[in-house]
């Protein structure tokens, strides 16, 4: 997978985490995968269309998901309910929107589909070009999974 794709998403995660959560997010690894595996917590996938097509999947373990929403809401959050999952879906949406702006800087024009929540314990086929990035933060580790392929017609 092109470094530009990974960097665009990584930078977006880091910007949004700093802005909304006052947290640093560091990539600890990058591995090629052929399927995406969901966690026991909140799993959000977003489709990408345009010059590049594919999907991203954010997998937030339960403890980290609750802590993220606690930081945003400023109140105790102890249950992974619709409120928590919806807040994290919007965070995933904001990160992906920022990533698309970054990709636009490399002359890729893309659109996002609305976020979809995926159940825990699923293995989703990821396509040819897919990577998993574990990201470490002060409140736990989550993973950003990216499957992106260039549209043949763009010729970039």
């Amino acid at each position: 997978m092109k470094e530009q794709y990974v960097d665009s998403f990584l930078k977006a995660v880091q910007d949004v985490f700093a802005l909304m959560l006052d947290l640093r997010a560091e990539k600890t690894n990058e591995e090629n995968v052929d399927k995406f595996v969901t966690t026991d917590g909140a799993n959000v996938t977003i489709g990408i269309r345009g010059d590049l097509s594919g999907t991203v999947l954010f997998t937030f373990p339960e403890k980290m998901a609750l802590e993220m929403v606690k930081i945003m809401a400023g109140m105790e959050i102890d249950k992974l309910d619709n409120f928590v999952v919806s807040a994290l879906s919007e965070v995933a949406n904001i990160i992906s929107g920022n990533a698309l702006s970054n990709l636009n800087g490399y002359n890729y024009s893309c659109d996002l589909d609305p976020p979809q929540v995926v159940d825990a314990g699923k293995a989703i086929p990821a396509g040819k070009e897919a990577v998993r990035l574990p990201l470490k933060t002060g409140i736990g580790e989550f993973a950003l999974n990216i499957a992106l392929e260039e549209d043949d017609k763009t010729g970039k």
Binding site: V16, M20, M72, A73, N82, F83, L88, E90
Partner: protein
């Protein structure tokens, strides 16, 4: 506390309205996530929703008027974000009415509203403040 000092943009009217918006959203979340029978909490949820629908429109209009008053170059794009969000709130309101104010749906709306508001105020609205401060500095240099 939903609101943070770093969200202030340095324009008194806008900052006051953001404070009110954050306070109302925090109350809304507390009610939506509170204990007790949903039907009993529903009256407060409906009242808060109605207030926010109205207040969001007023706030967006005031914020856009301020942007126009300082010739903010991002006004058109900012207005588009506001319009798109207002439309989304309206769609949620229609779904609430159609589903008899389903608790799960309102929980989802509250989560999205919170994250959207934080990002919008912390990112998009900050740009208005930065531009206003730049303009002041530029005018000061011209006067000198």
């Amino acid at each position: 506390m939903l609101s943070k000092d770093k969200y202030k943009i340095g324009v008194a009217l806008i900052d006051q309205q953001h404070q009110e918006l954050f306070r109302r959203v925090a109350d809304f979340i507390a009610t939506v996530r509170g204990q007790g029978d949903w039907e009993e909490r529903l009256a407060k949820v409906k009242a808060t929703l109605a207030f926010m629908q109205e207040y969001v429109v007023t706030h967006f209009a005031d914020e856009e008027a301020y942007q126009a008053s300082i010739n903010y170059p991002g006004l058109a794009a900012h207005k588009q974000i506001h319009d798109s969000f207002k439309q989304e709130v309206e769609q949620y309101a229609e779904k609430f009415a159609a589903t008899g104010f389903n608790e799960d749906l309102i929980q989802s709306f509250a989560g999205k509203l919170m994250a959207w508001l934080i990002n919008h105020v912390a990112r998009e609205d900050q740009r208005i403040g930065e531009f206003a401060r730049q303009e002041v500095r530029s005018n000061e240099r011209t006067i000198c």
